[in-house]
């Protein structure tokens, strides 16, 4: 599980512990996703759902968001969706906000905290501008920053449950017809090349020599 998803999971569990309700972990992907879903079970989610089908293969961010939207609707809707703010591979950070737009939910990216106040739910968001606090109305989708909520350790009972509990699988056949998979992805990777090498001609020198040259250049 990536660190941003861990934040989202911990926040979900602690909200349930304090305010009641249920937590469903939903992930789209092939077999290895089920190991990660078992980790969420060991931490105490009420249900783990894996969205998996060859029909979803090759989905870009928009097609992924559409599949998740359909799955969430098939699971009976939501009050609050918590996601990691980005994956550690693609790092686009797009799926969460796209899903929010498709579901017409109040959506806030890059959150570091969510708290209940007498006036409603308040979310702290981190941007280049600084830190802002927003009041949001449910249903909402929040994407969490890494390390905002350190994930609890699994309990012994949780580990036992993670071994035996069933992961609910949803396939494309369980959803209404939708636009997902490579075929319906607006973006297409057309070429992949090895990254360019040697953008600067480097001189490898002893440290003292480098510092003297920097001094001569007025840089130190």
């Amino acid at each position: 599980m990536n660190p941003a998803d861990e934040s989202a999971l911990e926040l979900a569990l602690s909200l349930r512990d304090t305010h009641g309700g249920t937590v469903t972990a939903l992930s789209m992907g092939p077999e290895r996703v089920s190991h990660m879903l078992r980790e969420t079970l060991s931490r105490g989610v009420d249900e783990a759902v894996q969205l998996t089908d060859s029909a979803f293969a090759g989905s870009d961010t928009l097609a992924t968001a559409k599949a998740l939207q359909a799955a969430i609707e098939a699971l009976g809707g939501f009050d609050l969706i918590l996601c990691g703010r980005r994956a550690t591979d693609g790092e686009t950070g797009q799926v969460g906000p796209m899903l929010g737009a498709l579901l017409d939910a109040s959506t806030l990216p890059n959150a570091t905290a969510l708290t209940a106040t007498p006036e409603g739910w308040e979310v702290t968001q981190l941007t280049e501008e600084g830190s802002q606090v927003w009041q949001i109305t449910l249903p909402a989708l929040i994407t969490l920053c890494e390390w905002s909520y350190p994930l609890r350790l699994p309990t012994l009972m949780g580990l036992r449950r993670a071994k035996t509990a069933e992961i609910r699988c949803l396939s494309a056949a369980d959803l209404p017809k939708g636009e997902w998979g490579l075929q319906y992805s607006p973006t297409r990777v057309v070429k992949v090349t090895a990254k360019p090498q040697g953008v600067r001609p480097v001189q490898k020198l002893p440290a003292a020599e480098v510092f003297s040259r920097l001094r001569e250049g007025g840089l130190l």
Binding site: P97, E128, S131, V133, P186, Q197, V199, P206, A207, L214
Partner: protein
């Protein structure tokens, strides 16, 4: 060809100018419309970057509402290309607009060109940064791309040019979010403006190591930078992250300690004037991005540098 650029107000406001200049460079004959926020740079500055005309949006605090209004404005225009800054807000707005318009979006492009057929070729690092991917959006419009502030240069000199300017007062929609409090940031901006950047990567190995780098940065009157892996390890805060998902810097001097040189990081520092890399692995990719390479332990080199600075002070 019709190109639209979203130009935000705020600390990343130069991003809108950079994207406008890039649009003009992509196609000198293109009609470039800038959708600018109320407090973004003046329309004439966009004119100087090559914009044809400019639409000004009123300041709106709720980005969900702004995203839906942008989508509503764009729908009848059907531009070929929409460029957005890859800031936290820009990423959010671009994702929201792409979903509402049912079109493709490529985040964090490091280069943009046109293909022979006039399609936008969107280039970004992929698969952990060892590869570069070229991405096309053939059938959906607009072709949307986001780019980090600082990736594309501004025209030099930037000579203002008056262009037609219309104020929009879009109606409808209801706010989903309400802002209660705001604390301005400092770190990232200082980093972007610093003449000297002292940066560390995974090789630094600890929070304590970063404290040493921070004190060197302070001694040199510079700022502290870091790679994503160092930030993810919790050794230093996100405000210091340089690269594809952090800030892009162009200092006079960039000192890279214990940085391997993944492309996600180097896209954020390649424009530095002089780069010095310190790494114990003589084959580390960072040396391909450095003017001077010091093969050795970062801590020893740091000590040598501190000694060098204190001797010359006397």
């Amino acid at each position: 060809m019709r190109i639209l650029v979203f130009a935000p107000a705020g600390v990343c406001q130069s991003a809108g100018l950079e994207l406008t200049a890039k649009g003009a460079q992509l196609s000198p004959t293109a009609h470039i419309t800038v959708l600018r926020e109320e407090k973004a740079p003046s329309p004439a500055l966009f004119g100087g970057c090559g914009a044809t005309d400019c639409l000004t949006l009123p300041a709106m605090r709720d980005d969900c509402l702004l995203g839906s209004l942008l989508a509503g404005l764009l729908r009848p225009m059907v531009p070929d290309i929409l460029l957005m800054p890859a800031t936290v807000r820009g990423r959010f707005l671009s994702s929201w607009v792409a979903a509402k318009l049912n079109t493709g979006l490529t985040a964090d492009c490091t280069a943009l060109t046109l293909t022979e057929e006039g399609l936008l070729k969107q280039i970004r690092p992929a698969f952990g940064g060892n590869l570069t991917a070229e991405i096309l959006c053939r059938h959906h419009r607009p072709q949307m791309a986001s780019v980090r502030p600082g990736i594309f240069p501004l025209p030099d000199p930037l000579i203002p040019k008056e262009i037609p300017h219309t104020r929009l007062s879009p109606e409808g929609g209801h706010a989903l979010l309400q802002r209660k409090a705001f604390t301005p940031a400092s770190g990232g901006v200082t980093l972007q403006k610093a003449k000297i950047v002292v940066a560390g990567g995974k090789g630094i190995g600890s929070k304590k190591g970063f404290e040493q780098l921070a004190s060197l940065a302070e001694k040199l009157g510079g700022a502290l930078g870091a790679t994503r892996s160092a930030v993810d390890a919790g050794w230093v805060s996100y405000a210091h992250q340089i690269g594809q998902t952090g800030v892009v810097v162009r200092p006079e001097l960039y000192l890279a300690f214990g940085i391997s040189g993944a492309i996600q990081h180097t896209v954020g520092m390649n424009s530095a004037r002089v780069v010095v890399a310190v790494n114990k692995d003589r084959n580390a990719p960072i040396f391909n991005h450095a003017d001077y390479g010091i093969v050795g332990d970062w801590q020893e080199t740091l000590q040598q540098l501190l000694d060098f600075l204190s001797t010359s002070e006397r």
